[in-house]
């Protein structure tokens, strides 16, 4: 076998293999054929944390990208960008969702809430945040905004959960520091405060 690998050839290979699969797979691109009208417009208005914001959003843009890079809401973290960790969890119409794995265009008519939108107008922490502080739930803190949002979402539909229900409800959020027990304590305390 040729031990030398040319990257250009390699890229060509990518393209060639793509073309090769065209005839048989249901997806695959682009022979330049005319595409139907009606694709999404880039300039949209989205409702984030109660405010309506006008943003230029590419059709393929994920909500996490829009929040972090267009709106500067960096509380929403990218831990994996693949829906495998939960650090980017936000609420979409009260439902916890992975912002890395939702298109902004898909949620443009919905209410989006991020960790930045939880504090009350006078600066008081949300009960979940307050409880997480009191229980010292976070360790490194990188998963915390996601844990907070998942907990807020859970308490909205189940204000008095059992510990097991909290465990199930937060199951889509990884904490590599392993602070699960402390987060559970925090949510249970928040349910009392809230």
């Amino acid at each position: 076998m040729n031990p030398k690998l040319s990257r250009r050839r390699f890229i060509k290979g990518v393209i060639a293999s793509g073309a090769a699969a065209t005839s048989t797979t249901i997806w695959y691109a682009a022979n330049g054929a005319e595409r139907p009208a009606g694709a999404v417009e880039r300039l949209i208005r989205i409702n984030v944390n109660g405010q309506t914001r006008s943003v230029d959003v590419a059709p393929q843009e994920t909500l996490a990208s829009t929040l972090r890079y267009k709106l500067g809401l960096t509380g929403t973290k990218l831990g994996c960008n693949r829906g495998e960790c939960g650090a980017c969890t936000v609420l979409v119409d009260d439902t916890p969702s992975y912002a890395c794995s939702v298109l902004t265009h898909s949620v443009k008519s919905m209410r989006i809430e991020t960790v930045e939108g939880l504090e009350s107008a006078n600066g008081d922490l949300h009960p979940v945040q307050q409880a997480f502080v009191e229980e010292l739930s976070p360790q490194c803190g990188y998963c915390t905004p996601g844990q907070v949002m998942a907990a807020v979402g859970l308490l909205r539909i189940n204000p008095n959960p059992t510990r097991e229900e909290v465990r199930q409800g937060l199951a889509g959020n990884i904490c590599r520091c392993g602070s699960y027990d402390s987060y559970l304590n925090g949510v249970m305390r928040a349910a009392q405060i809230g």
Binding site: M1, N2, R9, F10, G13, V14, A16, S17, A20, S23
Partner: protein
Amino acid sequence: MGEIVRYKRDVWGEEVILGVSWDLLWVVAVAVLILLAAHAIIMAALANKKMDKPSAEGRRVLRHEVVDRLFHWIMAASVLVLMATGVAPILGLRIAWLNIHWIAGLLLTFVVIAHIVRSLFWQDFKSMILGPGDFAEPFDSAKKPGKYSFEQKGMHWAVTVVVLAVIATGLLLFLQIDSPFWDRTNSMPEDQLGLMFLLHGLSTLALIALVATHIYFAIRPEKLFYTRSMVSGWISEDEMTANHDTSRWSPKEAD
């Protein structure tokens, strides 16, 4: 029109051959259709100039022994099955083709081997040899062939080469899949594997063209008696003398 060869990346991202471009299937199909249609039109135009068709009545001579006819039809059937099963997934037909394909392939392989052995030791092998003199045959209407015409020999040898190529590559590919006889090993490097697929594909395309041509001539009215002979074994003496040089082919009488 697409390219002839399809490429893919191996695990290292290196470009290697994946196989033949199946766009060529359409190229071959169209080319064969055009050529055969052209032939048919020309033959039709020349039809009135042709001499009378030899009679099928009268004495019958044996052209193909029963075992050879059997071989032919088994080969024909397996080749058709192989082509159908091989092409089906390319056309997007969802059938479980692979097992049928390799079983037919094995059948073809055995029959081909048997045919080769038989032709070498029990048949008149010389009758199929394509000599330099044969090439004059099409241009000299006075010159008649022995048992097989120049076209028949040409077709036979072309099919021989292509079928052997298909079988050889096919057997190597067969080793790369699980079978009742072995578990696959993935031992062939990806670039060699791709080369095998390419050769298998190219010889398949050639075979498709040849088979189409073969069938076309087999059903042409003036050649139909040959086809009959592949079914029932005989041709009439009249047909023999009209098309063959009896000094070079003297078959025995048919039963």
